[in-house]
Structure formats: structure tokens, C-alpha cells
Symmetry: C2
Subunit: 233 residues, 2 copies
């Protein structure tokens, strides 16, 4: 047995769940109901259960917190593991953080055990989170920003069908920049299997209707779409 003279500890799984609402990047946070950090905001999470895989635990928490069944279509990837001895005042807790990307979904009020879970603009909670969750959020944001450069992840932020303008607004919200709509359009339509036309189109309040697309099978972007690229129009 490996446990004879070695440390036994609790393993938590914490989630950075991101979405774009009203053209701004939001993260799902919960208000803490117990000590420590009572009343403060924190990332949703929970403890690993007997016989449970790490990713399965993350999926379970994701479902519980968002109150949604469609979680299988979200993006979920391991972010990093945080194990500073003093990170939790209750005792030794090592936390495996996951990054989840969700489309713009209904506010998770009615959901299951969602203890005051709600979407908050990342700009408002940065620096106000319990434990070391500020650091975890920061790492999650950097990972998401990087993923948008090299993978087709941005389309996961959109629903089942979206316009190129919707997709561009995701890039702008996550990166905090503006992009040239004309060059952006060419870049994404020029990358094979990134987005596929549905045939339909959608009219905005005013202006020419935009073609609708859905996710294609591509996972990586070649060539990548880099930040520090062309500033906006």
C-alpha cells in the first residue's frame, strides 16, 4: 500500500466556467454559505468521490452548478493543479482545476443545488475571489485566450447556429480587443471545417442579413488567429 507513511489528503475539483453574455466575458461564481470566506465569491467545485475519475467529477460539478443536461456539448479540459499547503485554512486540500466553455445559456437560478450561483463579468470578480481562486481564474482566462488562437474553441461559446459576427464578438470579448470584421470573416471562412454554412441567414435590427453557420469538425486552426493582430475598424 502506498499510503503507509505518506500524506493522505482531500482532492477537490474546481471549475472555471466561461461564457459570453451581452458581448462581455462572464464566469460562473457561487456565494459561499459557510466558513471560511463566508459571503465571499468563489469558483464552483467539490470533492472527489470514491472511485470517481477526475474528469467525471468535473462533469458532475458542471451539471450540478449550471443545472443543465446538455453539458456534454460544452468544452471541458483540465487546467492545472493547485497544492500549496496553506491554500485552504481547513486543512490540506489539493485542487484540480478544470476549464469549461459554455454557450450563452439561461441564468442557472432554478438549477438543483445551485447555491446562489450566477454569472459575473470577469472584470468585476477578478481579485475578489476566495482561496486562491483569483489565481485559478487568471490561469483559466489565459488558457481560454490562448485556445482561441490555435483551436476552434470560440465556436463552443456560440449556440448551435451563429453568424460570423457572433463569432467575432466572442474573440473580442475574450481577448478584450476589436478585430477587423472583413479580415476576420475571410480568416474563419478560409479555415477548412472550422464553420459550416447552414443555408439559413439571420437579419439584424438593421442591416444586411448574415449567413448562419454551425461548428465544423476541425479542432485546430491552421493558420492560427493571433491576438496582437489587426486592430479594429
Amino acid at each position: 500500500m502506498p499510503s503507509r507513511d505518506h500524506l493522505l489528503l482531500n482532492l477537490a475539483v474546481d471549475l472555471v466556467i466561461l461564457t459570453v453574455r451581452e458581448d462581455k466575458l462572464h464566469v460562473l461564481v457561487v456565494e459561499r454559505g459557510h466558513e471560511p470566506y463566508t459571503g465571499q465569491l468563489a469558483l464552483p467545485g467539490g470533492f472527489l468521490r470514491q472511485g470517481e475519475d477526475l474528469k467525471a467529477a468535473a462533469e458532475r460539478e458542471l451539471e450540478e452548478e449550471t443545472g443543465l443536461k446538455s453539458v456534454r456539448h460544452f468544452h471541458l479540459e483540465q487546467l492545472a493543479t493547485y497544492g500549496e499547503p496553506e491554500r485552504d485554512p481547513r486543512g490540506r486540500v489539493v485542487s484540480v482545476a478544470y476549464l469549461a466553455i459554455a454557450p450563452n445559456l439561461p441564468v442557472p437560478t432554478a438549477g438543483s443545488d445551485a447555491r446562489a450561483a450566477h454569472w459575473a463579468p470577469v472584470a468585476e470578480v477578478s481579485g475578489a475571489l476566495a482561496f486562491d481562486h483569483g489565481r485559478i481564474l487568471s490561469d483559466g482566462l489565459e488558457r481560454a485566450r490562448s485556445r482561441l488562437e490555435y483551436t476552434t474553441l470560440a465556436a463552443v461559446f456560440c449556440g448551435s447556429s451563429f453568424t460570423i459576427g457572433d463569432l467575432r464578438k466572442v474573440y473580442e470579448a475574450v481577448w478584450g480587443t476589436t478585430l477587423d470584421p472583413r479580415n476576420f470573416s475571410r480568416k474563419v471562412t478560409g479555415t477548412k471545417d472550422f464553420i459550416l454554412p447552414t443555408g439559413d441567414s439571420r437579419a439584424p435590427d438593421t442591416g444586411r442579413p448574415a449567413a448562419l453557420y454551425r461548428r465544423g469538425p476541425a479542432q485546430t486552426l491552421y493558420p492560427p488567429i493571433l491576438r496582437n493582430g489587426s486592430s479594429g475598424s
Copy 2:
């Protein structure tokens, strides 16, 4: 206490330690002396101790396995965490893997408790490792390959002073490609603070002496040096 009705488990730290020897990429492996997987090769690692930080545990294992003190100059970064319930037949063990990059150092025979630790060409051990260490190695290799594109990590594979040809051979060994020496030379000398001339030079067996360089302060490469780039001469 968070541990009341939750799973307690052992946390291991495993290491993917890479170096380049004789123009080939090598990984440090140990021959297992106990069950399970007795006699098989595995990645070096050990269990987390009371009050010990994850990265500190990785540094401790790195020193123990290589038998070297100069470990502080190595590169050490967290890779990923592996927690499948059945990954260790002895019981529930979650492992945090770290990636270490070492210069070409003396064989770690004499070192401390090094239980048959030795360098093995990655091509020879891939698929022959105990536990899920094949997967961990594979993830570590991909991370290292990617790091060479966007960071100055390659210089860590070299010693305190090296020629541009040495540095190029690192890229070729890690990526398994050949690169044009002339364009490569310009790329690295054109990236500010990547490498700094020492003023000395070193003569090869035959041919013009090459200028010697040392690591510069830069951490990231802009522009990056991409794989799938120009094939060799």
C-alpha cells in the same frame, strides 16, 4: 474539516525529465524493484509529504533521481494530473506530473538513491512503461515540442555555453525534423535576448569555429519558430 465524508487519497508526483544526448532525445527512467510492474521501466516519482508544496516535491524528486545540486537551473513546469481510479493497482493514487528539462549531464549512476535510474532514448521506451506512464511521457513530449516553438526553452537543453549548431540539434532531436542551418541561425540571432554571445568560439573536428552563446533573459519567442517550417538542407 473537508475530509469527513470525502475520499482520502495518496498524491504522487511523477517526472518527465528530458535531455538531448548524442543528438537524440532521452528521458530519465527507473527500473522498478517492487510490485507492481517489477522489473519494468517507469518514470521517476514519489509521494507528496506533509506540508510540502507540489513543485517542491517535484524539485526534491528531481534532485534525488539525478543526484545533482544544480537542479535550480533546470526548467520545471507542471504538466497535468492523472487520476483514473484504476491507474494504480495498489489503490487510489492521483499523480501530478511535472516536465523537467535538463542539459546533457553525467549519467546519474552514483547519485543518491537512484535505483537504476538511467537515460533512455524516447523512441525505445515509448509504449514500454509501467502504469499510465506511456501516456504521461507522450503528453510531456508534446508539451516540450510545443514549448520549443513559442519559448526559449531549447537553450535549457544546452549547457552554460553552446553554439547555434548545438541549439539547432536540440530542435531537430525534439521535433524529429531537420532544419536549414542558415535560416535557423538568423532566426535565433534575430530574436532579441534569446541568446547572447560570450565572445568565445569553439572549433569542431573539422570546419570553421562557431561562436559561443549563453541564454539570454527572454522567455518567449516572438516571432515563434514553428515546426512544419523549412525542411533541412
